[in-house]
Symmetry: C2
Subunit: 199 residues, 2 copies
């Protein structure tokens, strides 16, 4: 067990990776709830699939559609908060940070390549969604949804990689004695500090 | 299958009740992610146990601690958004609405009684949390956490019932053909309307 005072300050990253591994039998543990601020200023939250860490960093990747509300919300208020609940190990991770979006006109070659790799790593069913009619608009039953992509290896223009750069992480272990909770925070220079807090 | 145009406008309530029933084997399906606006204006999200509907209404109940950040956030910005992901039936419900808090000084006898019933319905382990030291403050290892309550039948003063009065509901069925999604909305008179939208 980790003791107060001698805890590595960036331990949240391996702790999260470990939780993802330990909960891999529960398919829903790949899903995260992402909270953003709507255009009207109210909070909202939806489920997204976690697409892994950006290269070897601690940045989190998600696939989003630039026609959807979440892309517009992040463009306006870039702070987003993600929450995992892991049902096997009874842990919660809350991650708050700055979200940025890499679309097909992304200039950073590393992020552009990460966008392409994310597309290729997704199952066909997840890629097809980006070829569907505009999400959230009234449904026209007569409009058929495409069942395959002409060029499955080429990301569709509306496909975006959202990168969440964590600034704060709250890790709660419900199976502790009685529970354990740590709060991690990054300063403006990217240096992490950690404190054990009451659950 | 529900057809566009002849759908009852308040169908989200039985749909949610049905999803809770169908997913009862997945204990995590009782958990909801609740998004609020922090005091500093940023969005945040955490996992809460759903404590059922308030009497026969469509209002959602949650147990919260008035010493915690979420109680302070709701007092300041009463709009909250809840998100369920149901792993067995592959459904998502997103509920946005106005949250109010009933503490021990609640004047409405119905809400005060609902608070008491919620307390009594919780397992002992969930009640004990309200006797722990202030959540989120630095942990003192020397301070023992109480292991039982002197009066388990009496709600502790910091125990609050949070009631979320839904104004908008978004229901997504991932198992549709290919997916189904409905958006429900309440007007200022509490009349619900519904529209089927693109997933």
């Amino acid at each position: 067990m980790r003791q107060n005072g001698d805890m590595p300050h960036t331990l949240w990253r391996p702790s999260l990776a470990l939780a993802l591994y330990r909960n891999r039998q529960a398919p829903a543990s790949r899903f995260v709830q992402l909270a953003t601020i709507r255009i009207d200023g109210l909070p909202t939250v939806r489920t997204l699939a976690f697409r892994g860490f950006l290269n070897e960093t601690h940045r989190l990747m998600f696939a989003i559609d630039n026609r959807g509300a979440n892309a517009k919300e992040i463009a306006r208020t870039p702070w987003a908060a993600a929450c995992w609940y892991f049902p096997v190990t009874h842990e919660q991770f809350r991650v708050g940070g700055v979200a940025t979006i890499a679309g097909e006109e992304e200039r950073d070659p590393i992020r552009l390549e990460a966008r392409r790799e994310c597309w290729l790593a997704m199952p066909e069913s997840a890629r097809l969604v980006f070829a569907w009619p505009n999400p959230g608009e009234p449904r026209e039953r007569r409009v058929p949804f495409p069942a395959h992509l002409a060029r499955p290896d080429v990301p569709l223009p509306n496909f975006c990689l959202m990168v969440l750069d964590p600034q704060e992480v709250d890790h709660l272990e419900l199976n502790g004695d009685p529970q354990n909770r740590w709060h991690y925070r990054s300063d403006s220079l990217g240096r992490w500090s950690a404190v054990e807090v009451n659950p």
